[in-house]
């Protein structure tokens, strides 16, 4: 009985028009804080999926000297395979290596300059965890069959650090901004309460229920949070599109943004966060300024 949506919506709209500056400020900070949160989450997610991709790629490549007999190659492969940290070992023969090169540079005339096959045979070793690369490299070093070893440890490490940093910077910035928007929403609600103090006094006098008095203000805060979140989501999707298109131009091997499901989860989380900020802000104002 005490929840009457149309009455509350009408009242919220009225109060919005009255105090539009502080309301716009509150909505803008909500949008900004969620945009920052969303952006850093987006970056972290993207870096994460790069990392997953890199993990699946070769991490340690062992180039073999020419002329190693096939039995030794096979023995070595099964030995490496038996190590705990190793997930997969692929042998790439000299012919296969050349084949790959040809494929990668099929549009270029560089190949015509190559005579014979200068490429070495190799093992491509993928690991269970990227930070095990050091151990594996150590064990392989000094063998006579091996010409050289290459591994992408640094790249991986940098990627891990970057992801962690992006996540923390995002959380801290977004947290600060979320706090600011909470305070601004609380202030907007306080003004709305103040503007309607006479009505509130009469409502209490004639026996309007406490929640009947509170609802319009709570609804107002939630609406501000929601609008802020929607703005953030729209801006974020624009930014994401822009990044995807530009990055793809020169880094074609990168994955194509976020998987759709993750993207929707992110949007959903942002909208929920906006609503929570709004509800918390108005609850704060109600506790302090509306003694019913």
């Amino acid at each position: 009985m005490s929840f009457r949506p149309f009455y509350f919506i009408k009242e919220s709209l009225k109060s919005f028009r009255k105090n539009w500056i502080i309301n716009i400020a509150a909505i803008t900070t909500v949008a900004l804080s969620l945009l920052v949160l969303g952006f850093f989450m987006f970056v972290a997610f993207t870096a994460n999926s790069w990392m997953k991709m890199t993990e699946q790629k070769v991490e340690v490549v062992v180039f073999l000297n020419d002329g190693v007999p096939a039995e030794s190659v096979e023995a070595m492969q099964s030995e490496i395979m038996s190590w705990d940290d190793v997930r997969k070992v692929t042998y790439v023969s000299k012919d296969q290596a050349l084949e790959r090169l040809k494929k990668e540079f099929k549009d270029s005339d560089m190949l015509s300059m190559i005579e014979g096959n200068p490429l070495p045979a190799s093992f491509e070793i993928s690991l269970k965890s990227p930070d095990k690369a050091d151990d594996v490299v150590k064990r392989l070093k000094g063998r006579s069959e091996i010409e050289s070893i290459r591994h992408d440890r640094q790249t991986v490490e940098r990627l891990i650090n970057f992801t962690k940093m992006a996540r923390w910077v995002g959380i801290i910035f977004a947290g600060l901004l979320a706090f600011a928007s909470l305070v601004l929403i609380a202030n907007a609600i306080r003004l709305a309460i103040y503007a309607r103090r006479k009505e509130i006094a009469i409502m209490r006098l004639v026996g309007a229920s406490n929640w009947f008095i509170r609802w319009p203000f709570l609804l107002e805060g939630i609406t501000q949070g929601l609008i802020g979140a929607l703005i953030a989501v729209i801006l974020l999707s624009i930014i994401q599109t822009a990044i995807n298109e530009n990055v793809k131009k020169f880094l074609a091997f990168l994955p194509n943004g976020l998987p759709t499901q993750t993207y929707y989860q992110l949007i959903f989380a942002l909208v929920i966060a906006g609503i929570m900020i709004g509800a918390a802000g108005s609850a704060l104002a109600l506790r302090r300024f509306l003694r019913v």
Partner: protein
């Protein structure tokens, strides 16, 4: 209807209680004046009855309900059964007379069918059927107070409390307002009017409760404002 047992009210940070050991019984349908000089505790008394204040000591029963120990969420229900009228009318300036009265019903969730029936009726009762579309600043003080009485009475409460309802009005208008309270009282509503309008009290010869410095010094049927000084 109203049973007050040994109540004392002491405000925080004050040494003297605003209300001291008061015992009063008011029956259904009574008309009672609460008199005394400014600062004697009349307003505190009224605020205790609508549970805007909780007494430091003692019990208050309204229509059988213990309102001192009442749960907070039940207080609105109590207030729906008590109409309040104040010296400063407390009307909303951006609403017409009709809307001001209707507001009291809207916010307690009455359906609009009932609002449309009850508001004109109560405006007729207070004699403002022609002014229902006027805004408060287009009405005289007496008319504004009638709107406020209409708002207090529109939900047919069992009790009407009035705190200095004629404090801002001239004697003739005050007489009209008191006549209106009398009319409401005859419908069976219990009426309690706090006032320091000596002439009015002396003319009407109703029950008089006299307060002085928070103490009930006199409770007299068909009483007068005070003994001649």
């Amino acid at each position: 209807m109203i049973k007050i047992h040994n109540i004392t009210m002491k405000y925080k940070g004050s040494n003297h209680p605003a209300i001291k050991d008061i015992n009063v019984d008011i029956d259904r349908g009574e008309f009672v004046f609460l008199v005394g000089p400014s600062g004697c505790g009349k307003s505190t008394f009224i605020r205790l009855l609508i549970r805007e204040l909780v007494p430091t000591k003692g019990d208050i029963f309204i229509a059988g309900h213990d309102i001192v120990n009442m749960r907070r969420w039940k207080v609105p229900q109590l207030r729906r059964n008590i109409g309040c009228v104040f010296q400063d009318y407390k009307l909303l300036p951006n609403k017409t007379a009709y809307e001001n009265v209707a507001f009291a019903l809207e916010v307690i969730g009455k359906p609009s069918r009932i609002i449309r029936a009850q508001v004109p009726e109560v405006l007729r009762l207070v004699g403002l059927e022609d002014k229902s579309e006027s805004y408060p600043d287009e009405l005289s003080g007496g008319e504004q107070q009638r709107v406020s009485i209409a708002r207090a009475f529109v939900n047919r409460p069992a009790i009407i409390l009035a705190d200095e309802p004629t404090g801002n009005l001239d004697p003739a208008t005050s007489g009209d307002i008191m006549a209106l309270f009398n009319k409401i009282n005859r419908t069976g509503t219990t009426v309690l009017v706090a006032t320091h309008d000596r002439e009015m009290v002396d003319n009407m010869r109703k029950r008089v409760l006299a307060l002085e410095e928070g103490t009930l010094i006199r409770d007299q049927q068909r009483g007068v404002y005070g003994y001649e000084e």
